[in-house]
């Protein structure tokens, strides 16, 4: 049944239209199997309890998606969820979350993206977009000021993201349309395909692009003209003024070098992963550092909706061997590590080219780098089938070829598109020793042998290894840093010690991960140094409520507990809270030689954390824990 041409219209409530409240009051529902569209209109208590973002994603996954659904099947839900603050005047609130059940991990996919798309969806009159079913042929959604249309995407299927964005804008005759879309990698169900926004901002992790591809949904184009107001402008303005006064010093790193500026310091301190987690230092790191990249490749910085920092690197480059299109932005710290140090690539041009291709094809750079490094080691050790054309460490051209092959599932790329954990299942037990994953997701570029509380966070995360809703051990040691300030607000002595895990650090982890999960509900950029008190002010101001700092903490705790319920429902237990064996191997050289956790130590501290969360010995939230948070009906 063709669903193209179907339309729907709904208007946000008067308080939103009159700029008296930050939520629109309507959540758009689309069934791509039938073409049916409608809106949910939750009451005020829903918004007060969940705020948006990850909590909205979890609400729908737990209430409406059946347990053990196929992540690439019709029953999976694909949820785009801005937060309460998205689109408001608060700097750093131009983001939105995207979620589903992950085809990479079979657990939760919940990833956030910057740019303008999330704010545009709010301005178009919707707090979230929830998609189920599968279209019989490629389609895209066109949303403008409360009106929705399902349109044919046959001419877009197969296009790279910049080409597809151009075609949509041309077809709809509006250059200011914001586009969320998949590239060919999502169409080809690469298990770590991402969803691209504005061609350079990814909802990167856990394979959300493959979920979108499985639904034959190429893109969601949005345009909105409502302004997102708040209930109490006077209560939000002091926070806005504070950050405008502070960002030039507190966030100067972003304006100056962006995240590439942290490559060399993180290498010096031992945080970067090198040679698939086997080496402690990388000769020539300065070529991948922020200074060199700004001298040779990065021509400017871009920014997101209402963000004054401008941290986003933009590469524009051409020589006799390659061109790199600035439409696709440029590599961030994680990408430089994933394609650079992890794969032993010393020429930054190839790192930037691989980054560009990932934005064009729609691929998560962290999982791509982790999978390619795993493949390089497998090739070196002779684990790949005879006759396979395999990449080798340090070969920049091979790195770039890998991205093409993964996106198009060509040759060995077809197996690599499954991710390193599934590759290892095919290659055998010895290959599993080369993995660096948690819950089948490749680790970010923060070595858990140094950042040991973050290691615990990797093991616990419902999304698989993730550095965002986590605690950064090195940053938490700084007195006066925003983590220390937040912990002191909650009565935890700060800063935290660097090495090891302790009950003191678990207390810090408890509050900081709740705050980061709150950020992913609100949905606010993690780089902003806001406090619990400031967040209680701005959330209260946006929604017309009076929330305390404990209420802010509870919003984050709801996300953590609902995530855990989702894991439990999908069959995960405490036994799955673990890291790959490779992470327990000590390095022989470099700043963190001989450092690290043992599996027994990790297990010990996980159990202390379960107790702190009021979870049982198998890591399941107790009825009491859920009741305190008002989510007892979600089990």
């Amino acid at each position: 049944m063709s669903i193209t041409g179907k339309t729907f219209s709904a208007q946000p409530d008067d308080l939103f239209i009159n700029k008296q409240r930050a939520y629109t009051g309507q959540i758009l529902r689309v069934d791509l199997g039938t073409g049916e569209m409608w809106v949910d209109r939750p009451d005020d208590s829903f918004y007060r309890m969940f705020i948006g973002g990850r909590n909205v994603i979890l609400h729908y996954l737990l209430k409406e998606m059946p347990a053990n659904a196929d992540p690439l099947g019709e029953e999976n839900l694909l949820i785009f969820a801005p937060g309460l603050m998205t689109g408001t005047i608060l700097p750093g609130a131009g983001r939105h979350a995207v979620g589903a059940k992950s085809p990479l991990t079979d657990a939760l996919a919940s990833s956030e993206a910057g740019g303008w798309w999330g704010a545009e969806l709010k301005r178009a009159g919707f707090d979230a977009l929830i998609i189920k079913g599968k279209a019989t042929s490629p389609v895209y959604l066109w949303i403008k000021d409360g009106k929705v249309e399902i349109r044919d995407a046959g001419n877009l299927w197969g296009k790279l993201t910049a080409d597809a964005e151009d075609a949509i804008r041309q077809e709809l005759d509006d250059e200011r349309i914001r586009v969320a879309q998949i590239g060919p990698a999502g169409e080809n169900l690469v298990r770590y395909a991402c969803i691209m926004h504005d061609t350079s901002r990814a909802a990167g992790r856990s394979g959300l692009g493959a979920v979108m591809g499985s639904k034959n949904l190429k893109a969601v184009a949005v345009r909105g003209s409502w302004s997102v107001g708040v209930a109490d402008l006077d209560r939000i303005k002091p926070v806005q003024k504070w950050i405008f006064d502070q960002y030039k010093t507190m966030m100067a790193w972003g304006t100056e070098r962006g995240t590439p500026g942290s490559v060399e310091p993180n290498h010096e301190v031992g945080a970067m992963a090198i040679n698939n987690y086997r080496d402690g230092s990388f000769e020539g790191i300065e070529k991948l550092g922020g200074d060199h990249l700004h001298e040779t490749l990065i021509v400017e910085h871009d920014t997101c909706f209402r963000c004054p920092v401008r941290c986003k690197p933009v590469v524009d480059y051409a020589d006799d061997e390659m061109t790199i299109n600035q439409r696709y932005g440029g590599p961030e710290y994680e990408t430089i590590g994933a394609f650079g140090t992890l794969c032993m690539i010393k020429d930054p041009r190839y790192v930037a080219k691989a980054d560009e291709l990932c934005s064009a094809y729609g691929i998560d750079t962290i999982s791509a780098g982790g999978t390619i490094a795993f493949t390089m080691e497998a090739a070196d050790k002779g684990f790949l089938p005879d006759g396979t054309s395999a990449p080798h460490f340090g070969d920049g051209e091979a790195l770039v070829d890998c991205i093409h092959h993964i996106a198009n599932r060509q040759g060995l790329g077809d197996l690599m598109a499954e991710g390193s954990a599934r590759m290892a299942e095919v290659l055998g037990q010895e290959a599993e020793d080369m993995l660096a994953v948690a819950r089948k997701q490749e680790l970010p570029l923060h070595d858990p042998r140094l950042k040991q509380t973050m290691a615990m966070g990797y093991a616990l995360s419902a999304t698989g290894a993730d550095h965002m809703h986590n605690l950064n051990d090195t940053f938490a040691t700084f007195p006066g840093g925003d983590i220390a300030v937040r912990l002191e607000e909650m009565g935890v002595e700060a800063p935290l010690e660097l090495w090891g895990i302790s009950e003191h650090k678990i207390e810090g982890f408890y509050y900081e991960t709740a705050f980061k999960n709150f950020f992913d509900c609100a949905v606010i950029c993690h780089f902003y140094p806001y406090t619990f008190q400031q967040m209680s002010d701005v959330i209260s101001a946006a929604g017309g409520w009076d929330l305390s700092i404990d209420d802010i903490n509870d919003i984050g705790l709801r996300a953590i507990n609902l995530s855990r319920l989702f894991l439990n429902r999908e069959g995960f237990t405490a036994a799955d809270d673990k890291l790959s064996d490779r992470i327990y191997h000590r390095l022989n050289d470099g700043p963190i030689a001989d450092k690290g956790l043992t599996p027994e130590e990790l297990d010990h501290w996980l159990r202390i954390y379960y107790q702190r969360m009021d979870w049982d010995a198998d890591g399941r939230p107790t009825d009491e824990a859920l009741t305190v948070l008002g989510v007892q009906d979600y089990r």
């Binding site: 790193w253 010096e268 950029c525």
Partner: protein, 101 residues
């Protein structure tokens, strides 16, 4: 008697401030501050006696060396936190950190 010293180094001037008042400056004549190109080094007395030792944070505070951005010390090539007790001969390099990724 010559004091035992350690060295604290910053590569770049953008994540610390060293602006002691005249009164503060007179209290720590033993501090040796040098600038070579983009390298800013402080040679500081350590372990004045067994009863009186100083952490990196204590030392920074005492000599009015203020970190303006989050930073982590690398002591003799190994990461530590600011509570590390300085030992004679220690070479400390301050490395800036950002929160997210």
């Amino acid at each position: 008697m010559e004091l035992a010293t350690a060295t604290i180094t910053f590569y770049g001037s953008d994540f610390f401030a060293f602006e002691p008042s005249e009164e503060q400056r007179s209290k720590h004549d033993e501090l040796v501050y040098s600038v070579v190109g983009n390298t800013y080094s402080f040679k500081v007395p350590v372990k004045v006696n067994d009863m009186y030792t100083r952490s990196i944070q204590d030392t920074l505070d005492e000599y009015s060396i203020n970190l303006t951005r989050p930073a982590i010390p690398l002591v003799n090539g190994k990461p530590q936190d600011l509570r590390y007790i300085l030992q004679p001969g220690d070479k400390v390099v301050m490395l800036f950190q950002i929160s997210g990724g």
